[in-house]
């Protein structure tokens, strides 16, 4: 497949750029060198080529100028079947179009590109500096594996070797025989660790059974051990008690010895000791008390004998007490009476004065002046009510006067008011004025629109009526004209180009004929025919003549004919070319004539159409229009103008209607008010008139109300006057009736008088009472005195009272002393009797006590008591010892116990004790052991729990197994995949080795200009190894033997060989190389160009460079190479 042209219609920075590679040259190399400095767009062109073949990439970065939906790459593609124009656009599907813009259904590239995908094509059919360098390196990496080298070079995959090693390494990371650390080992360890972890926390069923058994066995053993321990402990305790009892036994025996001599003493009751002490103290106390009592009694009897009492005075004590109150009042009245009498005189004078003032004359009985409380209350109420009543009356009078003043305005009659209100409402609801204003604005707008629409028709300047008369051409007519003009213009342009092309071709062919004719030596077929005719004639002549001359002539013509034939054969292709050129010239001339005729025909058609248009425009008086496209513009303007004219007429009509409505309203209001003014002013005046009328009506209503109010107030006042007069006329206040103030003042005097009369009455009652008191006191005193046989005459009652009181007090004191002494005597007598009783009992007690202990008297008693106490203490100690013994040996028979203890052998006992203690310790240890076993089992069972810990570990182990399974499968996949790949490479090598080795050998020798003579293989580490042969021997590809640059060139040689290997089987797609000579000297560059030229004899080769200096080198190496300057594209 070959690319004849690549059009960058819209791609990257290019717009409508085209790279024309021309047709495949008939012979010579199909090599294209595309020159452009940096940024000229080499990589864009390369990308465009790939995108053209394989589709624009989904996330293309070449959309910075033309967006995705505008991106477009065109190309002319040639293959064995012919040439096709194709277009690639950016779209998800159907992105490849044919010349007619229709999607191409069958991919025309699939066979031309050998079924390669984008990546494979890029790898195999393009070369650049980087891929060459990488390739050189890959040779080093694959050293010893020629299969890899061949495949890598064929597929253009420099990384291939590394990748295969990586696959193997990846597989072996999981598992490798005898490797120390692998993923598999790590996973296995994890599995083991989890198993251990689970074993630590989990309890399995067998273990559970074992624990149950252990728990039961432990419990049983524990019970047995505890029983044994108890028995041993009991035996030990018995022996220990016996030992202890023996200790108490000797003590017990000692006490018995001490008690023996005391047994004859009597048994004394407890506390006898204290009793004896008490008896001795009591005897002393009783004797002392008896002597004291006798003395006291004697003293009191002497005192009472000496005492004397005033019995007469004592008998009058109660009578005197009844006079105490009268005596007190007598004292007070003696001070008060003179003052009361003065007060009475003064008050009487005052009352007389006041009553005279009130009644106007002296009054006999002042009490007649006092008013009853009812009358006084009524008078006061009336007097208090008066100021408010009076004020209300005055206010009502003032308001009535004001209302009368206010109601004096004029009023409208009902009909007139109704008419005015109706007119005002009509004005207020009407929008006539507003409409008129709005309509005026609209009219102005339409007028402006109309004027500009008419202006748009310029230079045409008729009026609207005339405009109506002009008929527009129909749409069909207009488009017919336009199409006719467009078509004829296109036809003329195309045909003119065709004619020019044909003329040029004719000229070219003419020139070719000229030069080819010149190059063909002498003969054309006519000349040969005439020569042959002449030769045949000479032969005929020679047969006739058969002489030397005729023979010479025939021989010469025979040789000429042979020479001409030979020359003709030699120039056969030139001759045929010449014939073809003649034929092409004839065709070009014919084409030129045909094209010229098409131009003329089209010109005639155009003139015809133009004359139609001209006629129409003249009829319409539109001579200013020169272009057919202006016709429709002008008629569009015409219909706009007509439309605006209609709109203006409508607006004016609306405006007039609104003005008329407003005028009729104004006339109506003006008539009603009889005033001539503007409509708003009339409306205002109407409102004022209606408001004034409303106010006057309200005032009239108010006046009536006030008059009624005034009358009510006056009748209130009159009622008050009647009551006032009636009440006062019956009293001494009748003369003051006219003045409310005077009445109120008189009432104050009245109240004072009433109070003074009450005070006077009280005073009189008091004075009378004082006299009564004095008389009663004197009578009481006289009676007491006479009872005592004394005379009161001549004595002041108060002095008499005081003397009497002193005598009675003295008599009472003497009487009290006598009573107290008698009481004391009674007490002492009682006490003496009681002492006598107690002493008798005391003596009886002493006698009984002494008898109980066998003592003679109180002094010898303590000695006897002490001996008895000593015996008691010894008996207690003996009892304690006996109890201690019985506690140890059991039972309650102390005698039996003593006897049994006495029979014991002490040395045997010590030995028994020791062995019993040992038995107890042993039993204890056994019990503890059993307890521990039981408890451990119990705890283990308790700790099992229903948690998920064990299940979780099982889950984790399962997941590790899954991971092992997955990794194991991956390991095998990679391992087996690597094995198939290695074998496949071996087979690949076998089938391609000879062809590629030969091609690469030649190319490498050429590139290195003979430094290396050839390539060969020899058995190596991994298979067959590639060796480069120099004059001095074989050279391996390693760093020591070969420079990096040379290795890169070796890789290039292999790639060139791979290309030829591919081309031998199938027509190759275009090959692209991008400036691969950076590291090449000019000599190597030149020979490499030759190699590219060689490749270009098989397929299309495109070489990008920015080195202009390569041009002469390339032209020398490949004379037929075509040079395209990329700078012309932009």
């Amino acid at each position: 497949m070959r690319l004849n042209r690549l059009g960058l219609a819209a791609f990257g920075k290019f717009t409508d750029a085209s790279l024309d590679f021309g047709d495949k040259p008939a012979d010579g190399p199909d090599l294209h060198i595309l020159y452009g400095p940096n940024e000229a767009g080499k990589s864009t062109i390369y990308a465009a080529m790939l995108d053209f073949f394989f589709g624009i990439q989904e996330k293309s970065s070449f959309n910075f100028k033309h967006p995705y939906n505008a991106m477009r790459i065109e190309g002319d593609v040639a293959d064995a079947d012919g040439t096709a124009a194709l277009v690639r656009i950016k779209r998800r599907t159907n992105d490849l179009l044919d010349g007619g813009g229709q999607p191409v259904t069958l991919n025309p590239f699939s066979s031309g590109l050998a079924g390669l995908d984008r990546d494979s094509y890029a790898a195999m059919f393009s070369l650049n500096e980087a891929s060459l360098t990488e390739g050189g390196k890959s040779l080093l990496a694959a050293e010893g594996d020629f299969g890899r080298i061949l495949y890598g070079a064929s597929a253009g995959l420099a990384d291939f070797g590394k990748e295969l090693d990586a696959v193997t390494a990846e597989a072996e990371a999981f598992h490798k025989e005898r490797a120390r650390k692998t993923e598999l080992k790590a996973l296995s360890t994890e599995l083991d660790d989890l198993a251990k972890e689970k074993a630590e926390i989990d309890t399995l069923a067998p273990e559970y059974e074992r624990l149950l058994t252990a728990k039961a066995a432990g419990a049983e053993a524990l019970a047995e051990a505890e029983a044994a321990e108890h028995a041993a402990q009991a035996a030990l305790s018995q022996l220990q008690n016996q030992a202890k009892a023996l200790e108490y036994l000797s003590e017990f025996k000692d006490i018995q010895t001490l008690i023996e001599p005391l047994n004859d003493l009597p048994e004394a009751p407890a506390g006898l000791d204290a009793e004896i002490t008490r008896l001795r103290e009591e005897a002393a106390s009783l004797n002392t008390q008896s002597a004291d009592t006798a003395e006291t009694l004697k003293q009191h009897e002497e005192k009472i004998g000496a005492l004397i009492v005033d019995e007469a005075a004592l008998s009058q004590a109660d009578a005197l007490k009844t006079l105490a109150d009268l005596e007190g009042r007598y004292r007070a009245d003696a001070r008060d009476l003179p003052r009361r009498l003065e007060e009475q005189t003064a008050l009487k004078a005052e009352v007389a004065n006041r009553s005279k003032r009130m009644a106007g004359d002296a009054v006999e009985d002042v009490r007649t002046l006092l008013l009853s409380p009812a009358i006084k209350g009524t008078v006061l109420d009336l007097a208090d009510a008066w100021p408010a009543l009076h004020a209300r009356l005055q206010a009502a009078e003032t308001e009535a006067e004001n209302a009368a003043l206010a109601s004096s305005n004029d009023l409208l009659d009902v009909a007139a008011r109704a008419e005015l209100e109706a007119a005002l409402q009509a004005y207020e609801t009407s929008d006539a004025s507003t409409r008129a204003n709005l309509a005026a604005d609209i009219v102005a707008t339409h007028q402006r629109a109309f004027k500009s629409a008419m202006d748009a028709l310029a230079p045409w300047n008729g009026d609207i009526a005339k405009l109506h008369q002009i008929t527009p051409p129909s749409a069909e007519t207009l488009s017919g004209w336009r199409m006719s003009l467009d078509e004829t213009a296109a036809t003329i342009a195309r045909a003119t180009t065709d004619a020019t092309d044909a003329t040029e071709r004719a000229a070219e062919k003419q020139a070719e004929i000229h030069s080819k004719s010149a190059s063909i030596q002498s003969l054309d077929s006519h000349q040969l025919t005439s020569l042959m005719t002449r030769r045949d004639a000479a032969w005929a002549a020679h047969r006739t003549a058969l002489d030397a001359t005729s023979a010479d002539a025939f021989e010469r013509l025979l040789q000429e004919t042979d020479a001409a034939n030979a020359a003709r054969f030699a120039n056969a292709s030139a001759v045929s070319d010449l014939a073809a050129a003649h034929e092409a010239l004839a065709i070009a001339n014919t084409q030129e004539r045909a094209a010229s005729k098409r131009v003329k025909d089209a010109e005639l058609a155009r003139e015809e159409t133009q004359s139609f248009i001209k006629t129409f425009l003249e009829r319409a008086e539109l001579k200013h229009i020169s272009d057919v496209s202006q016709i429709s513009d002008w008629f569009t303007a015409r219909s706009t103008a007509l439309d605006t004219a209609d709109a203006l007429t409508d607006a004016e009509a609306q405006h007039q209607s609104a003005v008329n409505d407003a005028d009729s309203l104004q006339q109506h209001l003006s008539g009603l008010l009889n005033v001539d003014a503007s409509l708003p002013a009339l409306a205002n005046l109407t409102r004022t008139r209606l408001d004034a009328d409303k106010a006057a009506r309200a005032a009239a209503q108010q006046q009536a109300k006030r008059t009624i109010d005034l009358e009510k107030r006056q009748s209130e006042v009159n009622a008050w006057r009647n009551e006032w007069t009636a009440v006062l006329e019956a009293t001494w206040m009748a003369p003051m009736l006219a003045s409310v103030q005077s009445v109120k003042a008189a009432l104050v005097d009245h109240d004072e008088l009433a109070a003074q009369i009450i005070t006077l009455d009280t005073l009189e009652r008091r004075i009378t009472g004082m006299g009564d008191n004095q008389a009663a006191l004197q009578e009481g005193l006289r009676r007491i005195f006479s009872a005592l046989g004394e005379d009161i005459a001549g004595l002041d009652p108060l002095d008499a009272y005081n003397a009497l009181q002193a005598r009675v007090k003295e008599a009472e004191k003497q009487n009290a002393d006598r009573i107290r002494l008698q009481e004391d005597i009674d007490t002492a007598t009682t006490r003496r009797r009681s002492l006598e009783v107690r002493m008798k009992a005391h003596h009886q007690d002493i006698a009984a006590t002494l008898k109980s202990i066998g003592a003679n008297d109180l002094l010898s008693a303590p000695q006897v008591l002490s001996e008895i106490q000593n015996r008691t203490q010894l008996r207690e100690k003996s009892g304690q010892a006996a109890r201690a013994i019985l506690d140890r040996v059991g039972g309650d028979d102390i005698a039996g116990a003593v006897a049994s203890l006495d029979s014991l052998d002490r040395s045997t006992l010590a030995a028994d004790l020791e062995s019993a203690d040992t038995r107890v310790q042993t039993a204890k240890a056994e019990a503890l052991q059993s307890y521990t076993a039981n408890r451990d089992a119990e705890r283990a069972l308790e700790q099992i729990g229903g948690d998920a810990a064990a299940a979780e570990i099982t889950q984790r182990r399962q997941t590790v197994i899954e991971e092992i399974a997955d990794s194991a499968r991956r390991y095998l996949r990679l391992k087996l995949g690597a094995m198939t790949a290695t074998e496949a490479l071996e087979q690949y090598r076998a089938s391609h080795q000879s062809g590629m080795l030969t091609g690469a050998s030649t190319a490498f020798a050429q590139i290195t200009r003979g430094a290396y003579s050839s390539l060969k293989t020899q058995a190596g580490g991994k298979g067959e190894e590639l060796i480069a042969v120099t004059a001095s021997g074989a050279s391996r590809l390693d760093d020591k033997s070969m420079s990096t640059g040379t290795r890169t060139q070796l890789y290039l040689a292999l790639r060139i060989a791979a290309y030829h290997e591919f081309a031998a089987r199938q027509a190759p797609p275009p090959f692209v190389a991008d400036d691969i000579f950076e590291t090449f000297d000019d000599g190597r560059a030149e020979v490499t160009f030759e190699l590219l030229g060689k490749m270009a004899e098989t397929g299309q080769v495109i070489y990008f460079t920015h080195h202009q200096h390569l041009k002469p080198i390339a032209e020398r190496a490949v004379p037929g190479a075509r040079w395209l300057d990329l700078t012309t594209l932009l």
Binding site: A155, L157, A948, L985, Y988
Partner: protein
């Protein structure tokens, strides 16, 4: 008042899930002890629905289960039911018969474990007008029972609604199938009203009248037990009619979607197709989580790249749905026809050569040798991950040889390109 019970089987308590997805510690934490969580949900369902009984038709544990923690957990759940007055009827399946913890179980009195010798009957008297119920059942005496256990059942109890519990391989061939095979027709003819079966992990309602129900495993444990799993809630109405409801209880469900990506030629669009599939799985799920193994099929120009970068694709796809976890991504895509048949390049030639080698008998022998060498290096518990007999290992080796050849070729065929 109807009699209601929950019917389940094949709990396989505390047996692990088998999935590579659990390497993700987040997922591992979420589906932690999944069979336990599921069993707790079943118990909760019984309590929430206030049912009368829970019927477990065998295989409460895995056969090699010996952890007493499992037994203790089961005991606590049974006590929960007992406290709420829910009876439990338990028959032993083939796994239970093998399990050693079965013997040590300490279960409350309300749990009826059926005898292995003869089919016992549990009579449940009527309460609040409910029908009288007779629950028949028999336990597996051993791990394998080659003959039908149906003849050991009595006939239906008159006046009672009869429910039979049987761990069995339904319609299995007697003599060949060692899990108490029985014909569904024979069960139907026995005269019972409901057959509560167990053993098969896929739910199937064999008949509606009489109801013959295989409830399936309530929590799938690997991708071969894919789909939503459930228990059956059964209501015996007062008129003795029986209605069934399926209730989903699983914590996680497995899914194995196959995605045909024919004609999708951009990496991003493949991603989108996978995302869409994952979202569909997420919205259709009945469990808390979905563990998916995705199979990509179809002809696409990305076939090689997908194969080479499958791990990358899986990593990218992971984020698409929060409750869907990817266990694996299997690439079974092919390159488009036009390219593979007419390809003339070196890559195509190598591909043809490799395919030929991978298929050759000689190479397959070597592949089996490689596989056996690997198996010898595997830990004991993982020895059968490549197959448990020589024929299976050979088949796996052949499959891996082809897959490996494709995978390695994918890595050797095209220059590495960064993912877009």
């Amino acid at each position: 008042m109807p009699f209601r019970f929950v019917h389940t089987a094949d709990i396989h308590l505390d047996s692990p899930l088998k999935s590579l997805a659990l390497r993700d510690p987040d997922l591992a934490a979420l589906v932690d002890a999944a069979t336990r969580q599921t069993f707790e949900r079943i118990v909760d369902l019984c309590l929430n629905e206030d049912v009368d009984a829970l019927l477990i038709a065998g295989d409460l544990y895995d056969g090699d289960q010996t952890s007493m923690k499992t037994a203790a957990f089961l005991g606590s759940q049974m006590r929960k039911l007992s406290d709420a007055g829910v009876r439990v009827c338990l028959i032993r399946g083939n796994h239970d018969a093998k399990s050693r913890i079965t013997k040590q179980l300490d279960l409350p009195e309300s749990v009826k474990t059926y005898s292995t010798r003869t089919a016992e009957i549990l009579h449940i008297p009527s309460h609040d007008g409910a029908p009288v119920i007779a629950i028949h059942g028999i336990s597996f005496p051993a791990g394998q029972v080659p003959n039908s256990l149906l003849p050991r059942f009595d006939g239906p109890v008159g006046d009672s609604v009869n429910i039979g519990m049987l761990h069995t391989s339904p319609d299995g061939a007697e003599g060949h199938d060692v899990y108490a095979p029985v014909a569904i027709a024979d069960l139907a003819a026995h005269g019972f009203d409901y057959w509560a079966l167990g053993h098969i992990h896929k739910r199937q309602v064999h008949r509606k009248t009489p109801a013959i129900v295989m409830p399936g495993i309530p929590q799938g444990r690997h991708v071969n037990e894919a789909g939503a799993k459930s228990v059956t809630l059964v209501t015996v109405h007062d008129d003795r009619q029986i209605s069934l409801e399926e209730r989903y209880v699983s914590v996680a469900e497995f899914a194995r979607p196959a995605l045909n990506i024919s004609g999708i030629d951009s990496w991003r669009n493949v991603r989108q197709a996978i995302d869409l599939e994952l979202n569909t799985l997420e919205s259709a799920k009945q469990s808390d989580h979905v563990i998916a193994r995705i199979l990509l099929t179809g002809a696409t120009s990305l076939a090689w790249r997908l194969r080479r970068d499958a791990d990358l694709l899986q990593e990218e796809a992971r984020a698409a749905a929060s409750d869907v976890w990817i266990e694996g991504l299997e690439i079974a895509c092919t390159a488009p026809q036009s390219a593979s048949t007419t390809d003339a390049g070196a890559v195509a030639e190598l591909a043809r050569l490799m395919a030929g080698i991978a298929a050759s008998p000689d190479f397959l022998d070597r592949a089996v040798d490689e596989a056996n060498a690997l198996i010898r290096a595997l830990p004991r518990e993982a020895r059968d991950v490549l197959g448990d007999d020589p024929a299976a290992v050979a088949a796996v080796a052949a499959e891996l040889a082809h897959a490996g050849s494709d995978e390695v070729l994918a890595r050797l065929a095209v220059p590495a390109v960064e993912a877009d």
